[in-house]
Amino acid sequence: MSEFINFYLFPALTIGSIYALGAVGISMIFGILRFAHFAHGDLMTLGTYGILAAAALMPVNPLLLVPFGMALTVFAALFVDRYFYRPLRDLPTIYTVISSFGIALVFRSLIQLVWGSENQVLVAGVRPPLILFDTFRVSVLHLQAIVTTAVIAVLLHFFLTATRTGRSMRAVADDPELAEVSGLDTAKVVRWTWIIGAALAAVAGAFAALNTSAHPNLGWNLLLPMFAAAILGGIGKPMGAMAGGFIIGMAEELSSYHWIGDEALISPSYKTAVAFVIMISLLIFRPQGLFKGRLL
């Protein structure tokens, strides 16, 4: 039992938090701007490298440097939206999707150009795990990721339900025409969508890099599970995307637990395929997700 919790449950929750933080942005962009943002993973990587650059100058705990990563991703997101996505907004959304493919590549090659393509670590060395009640051994990082995500979820819920901007965002996601005729400032909503999505992408990127290491394909490799999480939670439902992220992360990690007999249920090398299979079956059988998201 304690083996299950130590080696499967906490890592699964950590992966789940990373997916959850990334999926919130994807879900909001999909819901409000109506397109699948294929550059979101690479936006995450950009945040990671922003933190890495700051860490090279200031030798403190990298989690304190997350704001630098956020600043970089928010700037990058607003810039590409203004110069690359907005000119295509009146066309069928598929053109914006193609454009975001290109932007993903632009982000990645910029990262490789500036920082090279080697693996880099944010924190060197091994940190001893915390031991709780003599049986549970939890890595500090896993705890940090899970707690941070929980705090962000509460703040996001407060933002979306209690502030004016948050409520207009939900209104635009639910029914853009109605929101527009009610006189909501759509440009402002779009701006806040990018700011929140990009800031959370930077946090996700920080935890993803701390969990393994920073490399230019970091975010791209996480993109499809994050899409799966966003669809599972229902497009345009940020809290649903959070839940979806945790479910996808758990499904992926726990699929290689030896549930039946001594063999892993699914070979760990096919772990990532679990998320893809969930995504494809969702798209076919329940594209509105668990929480009745919108259907494009």
């Binding site: 590549l105 490789q112 150009l113 499809l224 090398s269 494809i280």
Partner: protein, 316 residues
């Protein structure tokens, strides 16, 4: 020496250009004619490459094989297996709308890639399949076999071009464009939208499989890195957008233009100081990404825009 070097450079450029032209023609059937957003080109390309490689290599203990079939049969096999894979994918995914189809097809391409990496009884894992034969290898030796292979590739490109152009002008192609431009009215006119879409997807995937097979025979070696989505899926999309989606000649022209730009810039970037030369491929990627943005914003119909065939009436 300078001249023969240049000659063989152009030969290799045109071989890869031809393989990309096939991929572009295939994507043009799916996207240009059918409006289907396939973002999993690399997957079907990989299926074709592995099928043809396994069918044509001699026995080896490291992967499935030992069939030693002639190359053309390997390519037919590649088309069949890639087509069947495409059919299975189309059966389940083709009803999805554009963005969703893009996600689903990337997901499938990634699953296929995991299979290529992990199922080493089939593909020898990341070590790859080696000693893949080339067509007509009994008659040529050394570098001349490149020239023969060039002819082989372009004969196939020509065949596929003629076939897809006939398809484009045919009633089948007209219905397909009607579905692409206005699904509801095509449905109202009694067209079986789903059937047409599945057929389009399968034809495109089969041609992608042939392109994959050709690349395996050209390099004589195949490993899962060949299914890297950047160099196949993404570059092919840029080629088709730049060349003109919906126009078969545009697809070929786009493939040749972008591939030439891609290769020729390599000559210049290799002369940069060493610390920059290693990063030159990233500069090229960056430029291709920006080129796509330019094409999308200012140049959407491409070099050769789509031109619908004139309507001819039978003379009584």
């Amino acid at each position: 020496m300078e001249l023969t070097g240049l000659f063989f450079y152009v030969v290799s450029l045109l071989i890869m250009g031809g393989i990309y032209a096939l991929l572009c023609l295939a994507l043009n059937v799916q996207w240009g004619m059918g409006g289907l957003f396939n973002a999993g080109i690399a997957g079907f390309y990989g299926v074709g490459a592995y099928t043809s490689a396994i069918l044509s290599t001699a026995a080896s203990g490291r992967h499935l094989g030992g069939f030693s079939m002639p190359v053309p049969i390997g390519l037919v096999g590649a088309a069949l297996v890639a087509g069947i894979t495409g059919w299975a994918v189309a059966r389940i995914c083709v009803r999805l709308k554009s963005d969703y189809l893009a996600m689903a097809s990337i997901g499938i391409a990634e699953i296929l890639r995991l299979v290529f990496v992990n199922e080493s009884w089939l593909t020898n894992g990341s070590l790859g399949v080696s000693r893949i034969p080339r067509p007509l290898s009994d008659f040529t030796t050394g570098r001349m076999s490149d020239v023969v292979f060039l002819g082989f590739v372009w004969v196939i490109v020509l065949l596929v071009y003629v076939a897809t152009s006939r398809l484009y002008d045919s009633p089948w192609g007209r219905s397909l464009r009607a579905i692409r431009d206005n699904e509801a009215s095509a449905l109202a006119a009694g067209k079986n939208v789903e059937k047409y879409r599945i057929q389009t997807f399968v034809i495109g995937c089969a041609v992608m499989g042939v392109a994959g097979g050709l690349s395996a025979h050209y390099f004589r070696f195949l490993s899962p890195t060949a299914t890297d989505p950047l160099l196949t899926t993404f570059l092919v999309w840029v080629m088709l957008m730049a060349g003109g989606s919906g126009n078969n000649r545009g697809a070929i022209l786009g493939a040749l233009t972008i591939w030439t730009l891609w290769s020729v810039t390599e000559i210049f970037t290799n002369r940069l100081p060493p610390e920059w030369a290693t990063r030159s491929s990233f500069i090229r990627m960056l430029l291709v990404g920006l080129l796509l943005q330019f094409v999308l914003q200012r140049f959407r119909s491409g070099l050769l825009p789509e031109k619908s065939p004139p309507v001819r009436f039978r003379k009584d």
